[in-house]
Amino acid sequence: MTDTIFHFNGAENAGWSQPPPSMDEAIKHVPENMRRRNLPSWPRASEPELVRHYTKLSQKNFGIDTGFYPLGSCTMKHNPRLNEKIVQNPGIDRIHPLQPESQVQGLLAIYYEMQEMLAICSGMDSVTLQPVAGAQGEFTAIRCIQEYHRERGEGYRDKVIVPDSAHGTNPASASMCGYQIIEIPSGDDGRIDLEALRSAVGDDTAAMMITNPSTLGVFEPEIAKATEIVHSAGGQMYYDGANFNAILGKTDPGRMGFDAVHYNLHKTFSQPHGGGGPGSGPIGVKGHLSKFLPTPLVERRELSDVDPGGVGDGFWYHWTSPECSIGKVQQWNGNAGAVVRAWAFYRRYGRDLERMSEHAVLNANYLRFKIMNPDPKLSIHAMPVEGCPADVVKHEFTLSMSPLKEATGVTGKDVAKRLLDFGYMSPTLYFPQIVPECLMFEPTETESKEVLDKFADDFHTILTEDPEVVLSAPHTTPVGRVDEVWAARNLILRFPKGEGSS
């Protein structure tokens, strides 16, 4: 504990300088009873001390920049630095969301272009950029669907159907809108069980939430039938866009029959995920849901003589409020910085966005092939089995480590921890829960063949080495295996009071 930030204990004002207050005794304007009695026990550090502290911490953190990050469902692709440079522009960093339209024409133009681009890519009619995370996009779309049913006098529809392989946010988001969740089983192959769906739908069905390709990385060819079943019961179809990287430019949720979709700009469009956020989760909807979208959206009209300026494209951009808007889900207009980064990313591909999906899918299939076809000369303890047998997968795939566990006692978690020793982030562990001892791999389009080859070789090494080494992994990381139970039992959630500086 001696290396926490709270052990910096320099002199008053040691850290960093700022101008003095512009008037003396301003504090007399605050009633005495309201004045703070004890200052917070924050560190008293200098800039060089803090730069070193945080640099050391960064060296104990793994990012895409550090190495291969095949974390399934999270689409950890390279984050182009151009995008970081662009958002340092004061024209985004130093903008207030309540500035008049005349002062933010450039930002509105980018919003408009992103709304249009996302609608085109997804086969939807209207897009809002306001939700700031995928889960919030889900929540927003379910709210729109809820208002849609209420307006039609069908507010009694109180159930949302999700497959048991769905991302946890799907049921959690629907539940926050007050819906009951009906979970239906997936087939052994990870596909929708159409019979189970038929018996689950009814007059009380508000919506079904599903992702395609599924969380097993397999495209659901009968999606149109599922859509038809839900629609004929009067329900709405919601597309979880977490796996959009697999199909962009090849098909779209609109063609599959969906009514609403969210996009993860921090996955498909490379907004860096920064240790867990920020994200950005815009949603698109078909025409019948458009009027319920959060306020405001961006529209444009031809520039007229009275407009002061514009961005030089002959249009005037302005905010507008949908007719029966659900209101706001974030206080302002979403994570504008993420929208601008995603805009820069999309501009790099333009109409060739489908190349991105092609290479993501090629990389996933290649890596799966390499892992499942090891050098016959290797004596492997036990090969994993595929989470879902399929000729081709999409952008990700699942493997069950059950055979290894049976043969040697080594679990999926042990393999995941051992991969850290080889300089990789582990694949997603134990999700989806329908695959026992599951590891889920998503290499993304930005990895080279050499990286994938090396990874497959290292993976095979783990399958052949002394199980004891794997069981006790990791061995080369800044700390050994962390005791999560200890953390939950002891609940030390902050630096203890009175032990550091101050």
Partner: protein
């Protein structure tokens, strides 16, 4: 690569997509651009925006035109931080985990409550989820289950978020009025006694520091959760709500760490007492030990969260605003306790200087002249506030926020926001611009 896996074309990788739902032909989008071309377009578009630092600006209304130390963005965007995901593998994520544990400590110290999470999306979702959390914890024993009282000064855009988050789960919201002087009507607030929670803001939307809120515990009793929304910058000089009985403190973290960024990414803070720990939203980092008994950090209490608890989770939040919270931690650490006090005092001083200067303008009225304020205050102009703001805009001054946009019954009110960067020349530009409008207007 295709050869190796036994395929002859890219199309075969997509053969599982039925033909009738395939996208034919290229996307109707512009051609790809190079880095140079994108940067040129970005500079052109973003350059068409008017940034707050290029003019005297008095627009605040919940976000601060702050000064962010140079170190913050430079170190926080080191690739190891910037390009990492949620720290599910603690052995290779000790850096971010420790930084977030330190962040939790600094927020805890700032607001006077023992527990903080790693961030919410913004102040509005932090407030909304504080309310649903308080109902989960307090409803069973409350005389008025599922009922929450909220100050009617909470601005409509934040209120709208709260309504969206509470409408489906059967929470009834009742409003508490404020008095003529802008202070909360404590007599009316006493009706919250026996409800699950009361939500108030300190300072409120008109910048008023409300001493009466410190009596809330006596007013609402022990069983009603007190939730307070704060301006984090004020807490260098204002007694933190945790010290006068608040159970949950939320607010906009943005003044520490990042510019207003057109409204996002920013971050919400969420801190609470132990009662709420097991039903609170968001990620929490705990200290632990590794296999050698060495100190280590890890995400903890994950069984509250959606990836494990699914529809019974305490929230759907997954992605949060960790990187921005990291920027916040760096900014707070650079300030230190004394720097925080100085910063708060600077904002207060700017506010008072601006008030003093404006009080010389004849015909301009202060909406709440006798109440202490921090950062913001409301004035009434003779005429429409939108006209006054447009006039000042033409003179190159961002003169504040037209409160008529939030409250149609206040068409002549302007919310004027100050900050640590408000200079004497900014203030005289504001006075000149407002005076000239008042002279010209009928």
């Amino acid at each position: 690569m295709l050869d190796i896996i036994g395929l002859s074309s890219m199309d075969e990788l997509f053969a599982d997509i039925p033909e009738d739902i395939r996208f034919e032909g290229p996307l109707p989008l512009p051609p790809p651009q190079s880095e140079e071309e994108i940067l040129r377009d970005a500079d052109r578009l973003l350059g068409a925006n008017v940034n707050l630092d290029s003019r005297p600006s008095f627009l605040s209304a919940g976000l601060a035109r702050n000064f962010v130390p140079a170190m913050v963005p430079m170190i926080a965007t080191r690739g190891e931080f910037l390009t990492s995901y949620t720290p599910y593998q603690p052995e290779v994520s000790q850096g971010m985990l420790q930084a977030m544990w330190e962040f939790q400590t600094m927020i805890s110290e700032l607001v006077g409550l023992p527990i903080s999470n790693v961030s919410m999306y913004d102040a509005s979702t932090a407030a909304a989820e504080a309310i649903t959390c308080a109902v989960r914890v307090r409803s069973k024993k409350a005389d008025m289950p599922n009922t929450v009282y909220i100050s009617d000064f909470v601005p409509p855009h934040r209120m709208s978020v709260i309504e969206n988050y509470t409408q489906g789960v059967g929470i009834e919201i009742r409003k508490i009025p404020h008095r003529e002087d802008g202070l909360l009507d404590l007599e009316a607030a006493s009706s919250a006694h026996g409800s699950c929670a009361i939500y108030v803001e300190q300072p409120n939307a008109f910048g008023i520091l409300d001493e009466g809120l410190m009596e809330l515990r006596n007013v609402v009793g022990e069983k009603t959760a007190i939730i307070v929304g704060v301006d984090v910058t004020s807490l260098g000089i204002i007694e933190p709500p945790g010290e006068w009985g608040a159970d949950i403190v939320v607010g906009e973290g943005q003044p520490f760490g990042i510019g207003p960024t057109a409204g996002g990414p920013i971050y919400g803070i969420f801190a609470c007492s132990k009662d709420f720990l097991r039903l609170m939203p968001g990620r929490i980092v705990g200290q632990s030990i590794d296999s050698d008994g060495k100190t280590a950090y890890t995400l903890t209490l994950s069984t509250r969260e959606q990836h494990i608890r699914r529809h019974r989770a305490t929230s759907n939040i997954c992605s949060n605003e960790t990187l921005i919270a990291l920027m916040g931690a760096m900014h707070m650490a650079l300030l230190g306790p004394v720097g925080l006090e100085t910063l708060s005092t600077r904002v207060l001083a700017s506010t008072r200087m601006t008030i003093e200067a404006l009080s010389t303008i004849e015909g301009l009225k202060f909406a709440y002249p006798n109440s202490p304020v921090f950062r913001e205050f409301a004035v009434k102009v003779p005429g429409k506030s939108s006209d006054a703001i447009n006039h000042m805009d033409r003179l190159g001054v961002i003169g504040g926020f037209d409160l008529g946009r939030w409250w149609p019954d206040k068409p002549s009110w302007i919310l004027i926001g100050c900050d640590e960067r408000t200079s004497e020349s900014d203030i005289s530009s504001l006075c000149d611009a407002l005076s000239s409008w008042m002279e010209e207007s009928p």
